[in-house]
Symmetry: C2
Subunit: 438 residues, 2 copies
């Protein structure tokens, strides 16, 4: 979510020690590019999402470059503290792809070059009409005792090894770094192997989302509730007009874990009432689109300072052509008149950034497009263009349905990107609230 | 950048060992929420960007939760392998804010509660009209020997300590987790302290960007060049129609480091010619906007499958009202006619997704808005709506200037989001290339 950038801390309730995880995992991302300012590991979020329902908690994450001694040392540290270690990246054919060798060294096992894998590599290259250089054979090196995980989306296979380290059982997984190779491989090959162990603990999660509510107001309403539910971990993340409540519970069965998060979710939804727009993590535009379809309704948008963002969010939902007719990005005054029928006199009298013009945009675009609802937004995104009377961050939002037009004035703080994100969120939330009330 | 998601590996040339870094850094992000699927450390990218020009290389990154023993152990490991350790987060007033105590324990130094800091905390609370609970006093605990770093944007101060660990000098920095506290504190307090050491090595960077060029074509043109320049590290990241070339060089002076990246950048720009749109990391919409202003020109957009994304990108640039007049998101056929004057007969004859309609959208929106250029895009973003003849991913892009209209057909692979990102990139790049040619 582009507008979620500020974590809220201090809300995080702790798990009672009763529920210590059966398996603690460490995820290790390998690659010097991950130590530059340009590139970040994102695979670990995907893996965590998949591991938690299997009763596996991620306890450490590490990032290390392509330096042999560093990689061996990081692998040794992980072997001393985790029951499941997932190495990502460094499985390619080049000299700085060192994961196989370094993990073998840390584990004290041998690498064996698998003839079947070599044959497969040559076949793969032939299929793409190129001849394989010998350095690619390194990708056929397998940790002694490991199972090979096929990679239909790339040349380097993954590996899965169950072994002993310092007397405790440890599972070691090697996965390729590119997300489009790693994700299908985890789902097809790794999940089932992790599930097959005798699982004694289950984790369930829920994701509630709240729109256009102040963080402190939200917290004051829900803190008395989630602090009572110590069996559920509640993480609160807040962005521009959007608060995410992540609930997680552990229990001895999946049903009990689900019941725990569901009970808390229900109480939170009651307390937050119409501010909650999503009970399973759906986006605001998905929810608005869902209600539009449910009501057989449609929407059109005339936006100025948001510059296309509202239309872009609505049309990001697959199938949105069923409820989105179109919109106008009316930056200049002339186009506010031409596309949404705003009268030049009104623009003259009140200025482009005014409640009157927001309303006229909503009503005009609705009439032009023949939609059930019209959205109009006009404001000053900054950094320039503000005055004492109409400062940067001042935005007017309107929703029209042919009978009632609602206009909301807001003064948003932050830079251009943040003002635009807030304004789009406000407009979509006005539409959502109106649709829910019906 | 939403469309940059696939790292390219194997291109990463290694630094000659001649230039080992004076200081190797480890960045440690603390907080159990960073081990969930929902929240990711992003501060480390900012810190890396700031540390590199100071001649400091990030060698390890770690993420650890709010568990005391884990945090002490991670701190001890860092002390054994890094010359600069930056701890982020866990400085708040609550019970699970353990960074101060755990770092003290790992270092074997005492914590001292600073009376001036306590007074400051009480004052801060009074200023916001609330009374301070005693647990907040923990935020006044300072590592023996550490300098206190003021935090104008939050209650928890940072700390900076120069000490010895296992016989080598180590710098330990504690920073608050929230980005809006961490970033100003680093710039105001930490950067100068790191700079004051006797710097013997400098790092310079450059960021070239390439639009709508195949990855393998790009690599075949530049590999012979960057492999010759072993003194410069080249990282290549590729996304939907966008390739980033990150160059970094180390040297004994800043001037020499700059000269190294500049020399390589020049050779790469020559080889890639008009495909390079940015030589200092500017976005495609910034560059297009820059040329529009330079030529005293303007643009209007009529987009269908991109749903507002092109307008949104153009208007994300501050000051874009000087060159962007407006646009239409013409999802339905009726609106293609109404907003951009596409004739119903043409829509009937060729279908909405056709080169004729793309061209008519570009020419029509240009005429309607009175802009110098018009952009028209129509296509099938998917997942539904494709046919054998017109599959998902088929997009037509047009740019009109009143004399020549150019239409480009592309078949993009990937999901809805990716097709839309590619299509917006293609359209903006067509505009950029036309503007550059003039």
């Amino acid at each position: 979510m582009r507008w979620c950038d500020r974590p809220r801390r201090g809300f995080l309730s702790r798990f009672p020690t009763l529920y210590t995880s059966i398996v603690d995992a460490e995820i290790i991302a390998i690659g010097s590019e991950l130590l530059t300012p340009y590139k970040q590991d994102t695979n670990s979020l995907f893996l965590t999402e998949r591991l938690n329902p299997l009763g596996i908690e991620v306890r450490f994450k590490s990032v290390v470059g392509d330096r042999r001694s560093d990689l061996v040392s990081v692998a040794r540290i992980a072997l001393s503290r985790a029951g499941l270690i997932i190495f990502m990246g460094g499985l390619g054919p080049t000299e700085d792809d060192l994961t196989r060798e370094c993990v073998a060294e840390a584990l004290g096992v041998e690498l064996r070059r698998d003839p079947d894998l070599i044959a497969g590599l040559y076949k793969r290259f032939a299929r793409f009409g190129s001849s394989m250089t010998p350095n690619n054979e390194r990708q056929a090196d397998v940790l002694a005792g490991a199972e090979v995980l096929p990679n239909p989306n790339g040349s380097a296979p993954g590996q899965f090894l169950r072994t002993l380290s310092a007397g405790h059982e440890v599972m070691v997984v090697l996965l390729p770094g590119p997300p489009h190779e790693l994700k299908p491989m985890f789902d097809a090959e790794v999940a089932a192997r992790l599930r097959s162990r005798n699982q004694k603990e289950f984790i369930a999660g829920r994701h509630l989302r709240v729109a256009m509510m102040g963080e402190s107001l939200c917290d004051s309403r829900i803190a008395p509730i989630y602090t009572r539910h110590k069996e559920v971990e509640t993480t609160i993340l807040a962005g521009a007009g959007d608060i995410s409540l992540h609930l997680r519970a552990r229990a001895a069965s999946q049903a009990l874990a689900e019941q725990r998060v569901d009970t808390l979710a229900e109480e939170l939804e009651d307390a937050l009432d119409e501010h909650v727009y999503s009970s399973k993590g759906e986006s605001l535009e998905q929810v608005a689109g869902y209600f539009l379809q449910l009501r057989g309704a449609s929407v059109a948008v005339a936006e100025s300072c948001t510059g296309g963002l509202i239309s872009e969010r609505i049309t990001s939902v697959p199938g949105s052509s069923r409820f989105f007719l179109g919109g106008a990005v009316a930056y200049s005054n002339e186009l506010k008149s031409q596309f949404a029928g705003v009268s030049p006199q009104m623009l003259e009298d009140y200025g482009a950034v005014s409640p009157q013009v927001a309303r006229a945009l909503a009503e005009g675009i609705r009439a032009r497009c023949g939609s059930t609802y019209g959205i109009g937004v006009t404001g000053i995104a900054g950094p320039a263009g503000g005055t004492a009377e109409k400062p940067v961050g001042l935005v007017y939002h309107a929703v029209a349905d042919g009978k009632n037009s609602e206009v909301v004035e807001r003064k948003f703080l932050g830079d251009r990107e943040r003002v635009r994100a807030w304004a789009a969120q406000q407009a979509l939330d006005m539409l959502r609230r109106r649709l829910m009330k019906q």
